[in-house]
């Protein structure tokens, strides 16, 4: 469904952000994209979405990501931004959810039926006519996911879906993600969430895929994670306490 074939990318000449990256994500897979800050996770997502120029090598459902194919690619992919405020630009949740279906040519009635269906699926019916600026951070994140689901994409990409959420809202988002049947690529530093949602993990480090394998395996590999500026998920590492001098006591 999503393929990277020897893709290199740099924002500035001579400073590569991605170096010869290759991977393939099958239809229906849920894959976690993990890595330290600046490792290249967001760049991978932006290349998939065609938000950054790319000279071949990236395909979505067999279609090469290039300027000509962008409308088709973007119809297949939904992207949940890290900052929901930047995603929800219409006054109400309903209007925001109607935006994509209407852009894709659905009639008002069809779009509204789809919006109702998605809201019911996520248990958000009471949010329908609420103003975006009046809902809480957790509700906004769920609404942002709902706006993307209203597109009925074949794959969904999420950038840090659990940041800035309290434990209950975080759990709600995890349940919602697990309930989605389509292909999912989730970039996050929240390794516990990745463990709860993903079957497979791609570990990106210094612009390369440092590891690609089952989530349960990679997220238990303390040496691998620490070598790539990450730590074991909290649920696997147990409680820890940072001591003066940088010593971590478990």
């Amino acid at each position: 469904m999503l393929t990277f074939q020897n893709v290199s990318f740099s924002y500035e000449t001579g400073v590569p952000v991605l170096k010869n990256v290759s991977f393939s994500i099958g239809r229906g897979e849920t894959v976690g994209l993990i890595g330290a800050n600046g490792a290249g996770k967001s760049t991978i997502m932006k290349l998939l979405l065609g938000l950054l120029p790319c000279e071949g090598g990236v395909t979505v459902d067999g279609v090469a990501v290039n300027k000509k194919n962008l409308p088709l690619i973007r119809k297949k992919l939904g992207f949940v931004l890290q900052n929901s405020d930047n995603q929800m630009f219409m006054p109400t949740v309903y209007e925001d959810m109607m935006f994509a279906p209407r852009n894709y040519g659905l009639s008002r009635e069809e779009a509204e039926a789809r919006v109702d269906r998605v809201l019911e699926q996520l248990g958000l019916t009471e949010l329908k006519h609420r103003y975006n600026h009046k809902i809480s951070g957790g509700e906004k994140r769920m609404a942002a996911i709902a706006t993307i689901l209203a597109m009925e994409p074949e794959a969904i990409l999420m950038d840090e879906p659990s940041t800035a959420l309290d434990p209950v809202n975080r759990r709600t988002v995890i349940r919602a993600i697990n309930g989605l049947p389509m292909t999912k690529l989730i970039a996050s530093h929240d390794l516990d969430m990745i463990l709860d949602t993903c079957d497979r993990v791609l570990l990106v480090s210094r612009g390369e895929i440092a590891a690609d394998g089952p989530a349960d395996e990679i997220l238990r590999d303390r040496a691998l994670l620490e070598a790539n500026r990450m730590e074991l998920p909290f649920c696997l590492a147990g409680p820890s306490r940072e001591r003066p001098g940088g010593h971590i006591e478990r």
């Binding site: 973007r74 119809k75 852009n103 993307i148």
Partner: protein, 277 residues
Amino acid sequence: MSLAPVVRKMRMNNISAAQTELREMDALAAQASPIHRLHPLVKLLVTLAYIVCVVSFPKYQLSGLAVMVLYPVVMFQVSGIPVRTCFHKLRVVLPLVCAVGLLNPFFDRAPLLYVGTVAVSGGVVSMATLMLKGMFALMASFLLIATTTIDALCAALRKLHVPGLLVTLLLLTYRYISVMVGEVAVMTDAYHLRAPGQKGIQISAWGSFLGQLLLRSMDRAEELYQSMQLRGFCGEFYYADPAPCTAGAVAYGLICAGLFLTARLFDLPQLLGNLFV
């Protein structure tokens, strides 16, 4: 106790108030009165007709113009929008509009009419006329935006074949204003938290403050735009296309236009007065 926290709180409230005011317009427009339910194109055309009629009154025809107050009065009543809200929102613009004719009494001193034994010069009458014209036009415009969502208004403009680029620009400007105000609020809070007791933002910080504001707004605007592109936006909004124009809405438009025209062509207060004199 230092006054600094109080000062900071007041400043934060000012920007928050500006943000709230922007959002209040959306809330007003989303109500469900009969006026709100009218087709936006009809409302737009009626408002345009009203403004054209008001502006076309001769400068000394104060009595004829006064009748035009009936339109906003009826609209306020039926739409349920408080007049107070209108004046509160227009508090910055209204004085400017009223100031337009302030010099007229100095240039046009010839007596035009007498109130009892007091002579009223042409300048005073034309000043009052100008003020009323400005006020009525502003009130009508306010009523239009307070009873019509920006999307519906844009849809109406597109129906009038206003170029898509202009309409999209209008819509996005409206949306981005709140984004920018939000950034200002965050930045001023950050500034005042590290500059307690300071009144306003120091001149020396204006350059970097404005520069940062521009960069941050551009970043957010870029991300918003990307979010729109990723959801199928390609330059043309599929605006909230309203329900088809009903016969009732057309009748409302025609009746309003007829009444405006009657008020414009006949000095109704004078005619009424003639009945009794």
